[in-house]
Point group: C2
Chain length 355, copies 2
């Protein structure tokens, strides 16, 4: 049972799997070549992060993530009438920025697990997490700019804008953890920055490299931005109610980190008995010195109150609402019908995924 009942029950999972697979197959060899440029030991640390080797340096067939962004970047090139291959440098650049942010965020948030494995700062120490993150960020620009074309310059500019928003979003996310009240609007703005901006860029970067004009690129970014908001709403649901076996994270992961995610802020804003009780508990938690030793039951109680106050259902509806806006935006671009169907299928997948 997916965490959000499907907006489109007819998602063709085989088609989506093939798209994700194509994104990985075409972009990973380039990504590996680019990462190999890093000075030791950063190349090793990055290879571990991407799941290509294990802690002992042995080749591994690790889980490098869902790879939604590379799939989108290749479709983006096709949406502009170019070959999917035109989007490869964009796919690689966006994936580098995404992983730069994961390396730094895991350290800042103290997350010990990602993709079922210890995070880089846990294995190699904080300095390597900082350095390798920095290096991936720089490589992202390098891989685009070395194309030496006007289109690459435009793509780099969009990627830079997205990266700045990503960093703004992480700054907001961290500051909200220490704030007693966060409004639903503030949370949506943060999520738009943190997740929407880079997904938007993934959806335009292939088209820009393929020669699309700014209007086409902007419309594809609108699709990606709302897809990102749907994606993050689902992530927020998975962060509380996801199956650790699927997500690779701890149970109640976001609650353990006092994240003011959408279900939490929506529940707090809802009013009523459960909402008020939740507010009291979270306010006490913020001052509690025992928080780090809370039992499973204590987090389960908070999750149940969020659900009772309507935070879970509101977030599920929000995911479907953003999904709808995203898919509608696709009609603003004249693209091959097959590509539109595939972008729609990816949007459907984002909402029904379990990890």
């Amino acid at each position: 049972m997916p965490i959000v009942p499907s907006a489109n029950p007819a998602v063709d999972t085989a088609d989506v799997a093939a798209l994700l697979d194509r994104g990985k197959t075409l972009s990973t060899p380039v990504l590996r070549t680019v990462v190999d440029r890093l000075a030791a030991p950063m190349d090793t640390v990055a290879a571990y992060h991407f799941g290509w080797i294990d802690e002992q340096g042995r080749p591994a067939d690790g889980d490098g993530g869902k790879a939604v962004r590379p799939a989108l970047a290749l479709l983006s090139a096709e949406a502009a009438g170019a070959a999917p291959e035109a989007g490869i440098p964009g796919a690689v650049a966006v994936e580098l920025v995404h992983n730069f942010s994961l390396l730094h965020d895991d350290l800042m948030d103290g997350d010990e697990q990602r993709r079922h494995r210890d995070t880089v700062w846990k294995v190699y120490g904080p300095a390597q997490a900082i350095l390798v993150g920095d290096a991936l960020f720089a490589l992202a620009n390098e891989v685009l700019l070395e194309l030496g074309t006007v289109e690459a310059g435009r793509a780099t500019r969009r990627l830079t804008t997205a990266s700045r928003k990503l960093i703004d979003g992480q700054a907001q996310d961290i500051s909200y953890e220490h704030r007693e009240r966060v409004t639903v609007e503030q949370c949506l703005e943060m999520e738009g920055n943190k997740t929407g901006a880079l997904l938007a860029c993934a959806c335009s970067i292939g088209a820009v490299l393929g020669g699309a004009d700014d209007r086409t690129a902007d419309t594809l970014e609108a699709y990606g931005y709302h897809l990102g908001l749907a994606f993050q709403a689902v992530d927020d649901l998975l962060g509380i109610w996801g199956d650790p076996q699927s997500t690779g994270k701890q149970t109640w992961s976001d609650l353990r980190q006092r994240k003011k995610s959408l279900p939490v802020v929506a529940a707090l804003a809802a009013g009523g008995r459960a909402s008020e009780r939740l507010g009291e508990l979270l306010a006490a938690d913020a001052k509690s010195s025992d928080f780090d030793s809370f039992s499973e039951e204590e987090f389960a109680t908070r999750a149940a109150l969020i659900e009772e106050a309507g935070g879970r259902e509101w977030t599920s509806q929000e995911a479907r609402r953003q999904h709808t806006i995203a898919v509608e935006a696709l009609h603003g671009v004249d693209m091959p019908e097959r590509v539109r169907e595939q972008l729609t299928a990816l949007a459907d997948f984002v909402v029904v995924r379990k990890r």
Copy 2:
């Protein structure tokens, strides 16, 4: 008495002060406007780092550093026959990358003081140091790419190359701290990456923005690269024998951090009684659990052995040697004689400075 006896005793300090001042005066207002774009609280943290406000948020007239790089970027534009103002976005971008690296390096190295004040991670915590560093790095590309010109694309590409080398250099620097033996060649390679590359970029970026061809830019980079090596050799001397009142760092700063800087590796490579004794002491230090509580005298003993083994004199000569190569490179570019004299004066200053 400067730490390196001058290669050119006729340095006109008033002329150098005017050049550094012009670099600051023209670039700081743009830098402040750009930093103001950051989401709260990153704008505040960055303003503290640059010395514009104090810990309580009150306006401050802090020491934002020597600002050698902005001065070079403006002269770089003039070397290409453009107005100094053409170099301003380059000056700002290079200064942003430089400060991104300071924020992250201070955290990775555990440095508690910079420019006579607590470092950002000490005041605002590690997460803010990481985030604001990331944001400044992104802003550096933004400030160039928003110019929207072909020249800006070329400048961004050079800045990206320099940034990657800077990160490689920091990775090497960190890995050398845990290594028993580092050769002089490895140390010079690391310093070329860590300091040479970005100074090289500062020296070409204004010219590129001013329309210079690649050969001119490459020659100006050669000047900047060797200037950077001279700069770093002087930094390494100051890191051991600098006056804390001038440098704003602790006494024996680099020895406290087990840095394998030039004087240390040169002394270890020299052979002889003092060199061997130094090697024994440093090997024992690496295993010592008391290292953090070492007295001033213990560091003074190590510094004296480095000097006795010839590490101080060798590094001083290396600074002068790199200075000579840098100044000679200037003859490979056809530029106004006044600009050549000013670039020479800046090179002289780098060698004789006390901080």
